[in-house]
């Protein structure tokens, strides 16, 4: 071979071999030395964790299956500006559907980030109605995405709002929503795998067949009809008696299931955002979260303790002189009168403070307070609602707060604070032959797989004997029959007790305004309903016997009819008929 071509060939071979060596070195560097770095870099670009469509939060129904809290459909409207060429045209199209100024949309579509690049993603409307969302979808504009969202919906409006609480898109607050939040929440599932340039999954390997699970559904013991009637009665009572606020609780004494729990002021759970901005949002449930001095309804507990401890019988007498001294404090009857020789039955029926103080004084603090604790005072009832408070009961061992005079004042409901629910539970215990159960609002839980868990009543304690409960019930019947006649129900025997409490203020009690409570149950002898009515600062009369007792009578009469509970005479006929 000539010298020239040989040299050129040598040069070519040298270059080629050199290039191959460079490539091999680079390959070794990429494949071996920097292997982990490039592997991770590739994975970062290819693999994404994508949250699958979130299933709905568990729904809440009443005991009849009526939906109280469900999930409505809304849409978020989003844009990827890089895919939109005619921004002004798209803005015009969207403006008419979204009811937003076109200029506003165009500005959003043209907005740039810190790096002066067009934003990759813009949220045009965070939550629009179904109609608007579907209208945008129908436009079929490239670069505009309509993403479905869940929105908690309360189709019954303000009905049972305090009991239900409310929920944002993620978290539940107050009431059932707050208490059962973890259970109601849906499962959030992330899909991890390779995606394409539009971040959509590439299904190159089999995808999971199961959908994420929705939240657990709850069926309450609440009855929509009973709740409606209770709320209507509460509104009527507030108007008729000029009260500022109030609470009504309806319970089943056999199970301590709550049939209705109504409080005013109320609110619409869907408006929680606006309401949260108020100085004092109305979210707390006054039935379980607010405590008050109960007044004379508390004498039910005092008499129960005295009867059950064997200290007295309903016929035991004492001489009511119109005053009594306990722990250095003189206690008088509310009427300032002396009633002379009176029985324990008359003590409760006429609501005599002196008699109640006599009972607690002679029982002594150990016996008296052990019964109050037995009825669950000073501790939460354990109801499945968020935000329950324990009330306030000072015991002799609380040396800083308790004074011997408390023994007298506590006997007729002063110096002690309870929630309306605690008071209702106390009376339900009497109606349930002396056995205290744990009150509850959820009757059944239904898992996404269809498994049903039924709530079984939980016995907390036998507080008084069945005999004491029956004696006390008869005394409470006398209260209604002889004294608080406004609470009488034609054709039915009902037991009850009214209580008019002064409102404590720093240094004593307010001169004006009372809290009127009536709590009772019926029909006897097998009570099916316990009802507590509490009215704050009624104007037409300060006395519960003239206000709350009337509300009780109207509501229980209506509920007997609606729930198909026949009058005493009717029940006798049914019982006697077939024999």
């Amino acid at each position: 071979m000539a010298e020239g071509p040989r040299r050129r060939l040598m040069l070519l071979i040298t270059l080629l071999v050199g290039s191959v060596i460079v490539v091999v070195i680079q390959l070794v560097k990429v494949q071996v030395v920097d292997h982990e770095f490039y592997k991770n870099w590739a994975l970062e670009q290819q693999v994404r964790a994508i949250t699958m469509d979130t299933p709905p939060r568990g729904v809440i129904r009443d005991r009849g299956g009526h939906l109280l809290a469900g999930n409505g459909l809304r849409y978020a409207v989003e844009a990827a500006p890089a895919y939109i060429v005619d921004k002004a045209g798209v803005a015009d199209q969207l403006a008419s559907v979204l009811h937003m100024p076109a200029s506003h949309i165009e500005t959003a579509l043209s907005s740039r980030g810190h790096d002066q690049q067009l934003r990759q993603w813009v949220l045009l409307a965070p939550s629009v109605s179904r109609d608007v969302g579907e209208g945008v979808k129908d436009l079929n504009v490239s670069g505009i995405t309509v993403r479905p969202l869940w929105e908690r919906s309360y189709p019954q409006g303000t009905l049972a709002s305090h009991t239900l609480g409310f929920s944002t898109m993620i978290t539940g607050y107050y009431g059932v929503e707050g208490y059962y939040d973890v259970m109601l929440r849906p499962e959030v599932v992330e899909w991890v795998g390779p995606v394409d340039v539009a971040s959509l999954p590439i299904p190159w390997q089999p995808v999971a067949g199961e959908l994420p699970r929705r939240g657990v559904d709850l069926e309450l013991t609440l009855d929509r009809t009973v709740q409606t009637l209770a709320e209507q009665e509460l509104l009527r009572s507030l108007g008729e008696y000029g009260a500022e606020a109030g609470t009504i609780i309806v319970m089943e004494p056999e199970t301590f299931g709550i049939l209705a729990m109504a409080s005013y002021p109320t609110y619409h759970p869907e408006q929680y955002v606006e309401l949260a901005a108020l100085a004092s949002p109305p979210f707390e449930d006054p039935a379980v979260s607010k405590q008050y001095e109960p007044g004379s309804v508390f004498k039910i507990l005092t008499v129960a303790a005295a009867l059950d401890s064997g200290m007295v019988t309903p016929q035991t007498t004492y001489n009511d002189q119109g005053w009594i001294e306990v722990g250095g404090q003189t206690i008088r009857n509310a009427t300032r009168r002396a009633y002379g020789v009176s029985t324990v039955t008359e003590l409760l029926a006429k609501s005599l403070n002196v008699g109640a103080a006599w009972l607690s004084r002679d029982m002594g603090p150990d016996v008296f307070y052990s019964y109050l604790k037995g009825f669950g005072l000073g501790e939460r009832t354990g109801i499945d609602l968020a935000g329950e408070v324990a009330g306030q009961l000072w015991l002799p061992e609380d040396v800083e707060h308790w004074h011997p005079s408390n023994l007298g004042t506590n006997s007729f409901g002063q110096g002690v604070a309870v929630t309306p629910l605690q008071m209702a539970v106390t009376v339900a215990t009497v109606a349930n032959d002396g056995v205290r159960l744990r009150p509850h609002v959820v009757g059944r839980r239904i898992s996404p797989d269809g498994a049903v868990s039924v709530y079984r009543p939980v016995e907390v304690e036998r507080v008084i004997s069945p005999e004491t409960a029956r004696d006390l019930t008869e005394i409470m019947v006398r209260c209604v029959e002889d004294e608080v006649t406004l609470a009488r129900v034609e054709g039915y025997r009902v037991a009850g007790k009214s209580g008019t409490a002064q409102i404590p203020v720093p240094g004593g009690y307010a001169r004006e305004g009372t809290i009127a409570t009536f709590v009772g149950f019926g029909p006897l002898p097998d009570p099916e309903l316990v009802i507590l009515v509490k009215l704050d600062r009624p104007k037409t009369s300060p006395w519960a016997a003239n206000t709350a007792a009337g509300s009780f009578q109207r509501l229980i009469s209506e509920l007997f009819t609606v729930l198909g509970i026949p009058p005493e005479e009717g029940r006798l006929v049914v019982e006697v008929g077939p024999r």
Binding site: P55, P203, P206
Partner: protein, 108 residues
């Protein structure tokens, strides 16, 4: 080195390669097997992807139906509130009963 250069220049000069029959069969076999494996792999990947897309579609459909179902539940509940039912009853001319009389069922 001269032998290597001779080998290279020879190849360049000759411009053709000769192969015996056995080698030809062997190479052909390898090519066929590789083609088959590649085709089968592509088929498998394609089927998996198609099934994945199908499942994705079903999931999307299931989510869509779930959304529809939940919204319908809310719509039905809104249409059948107690106040709504009462208004409807009143519009139909129905009135609440003043008194209820319970009649004993003597055959029970």
């Amino acid at each position: 080195m001269p032998d290597f250069l001779e080998w290279v220049t020879h190849g360049v000069k000759q411009g053709r390669f000769e192969m015996n029959a056995a080698a030809t069969v062997g190479v052909s076999l390898v090519v066929v097997v590789l083609t088959l494996v590649t085709a089968l792999y592509l088929m498998l990947i394609s089927r998996t992807a198609a099934r994945g897309r199908y499942i994705e579609g079903l999931q999307a459909q299931a989510f869509g139906l779930q959304r529809e179902n939940q919204q319908l539940m809310v719509d039905i509940a809104e249409q059948s509130t107690v106040s709504g039912l009462r208004e409807r009853a009143e519009a139909l001319g129905l009135v609440a009963a003043e008194t209820i009389e319970f009649v004993a069922d003597l055959e029970q």
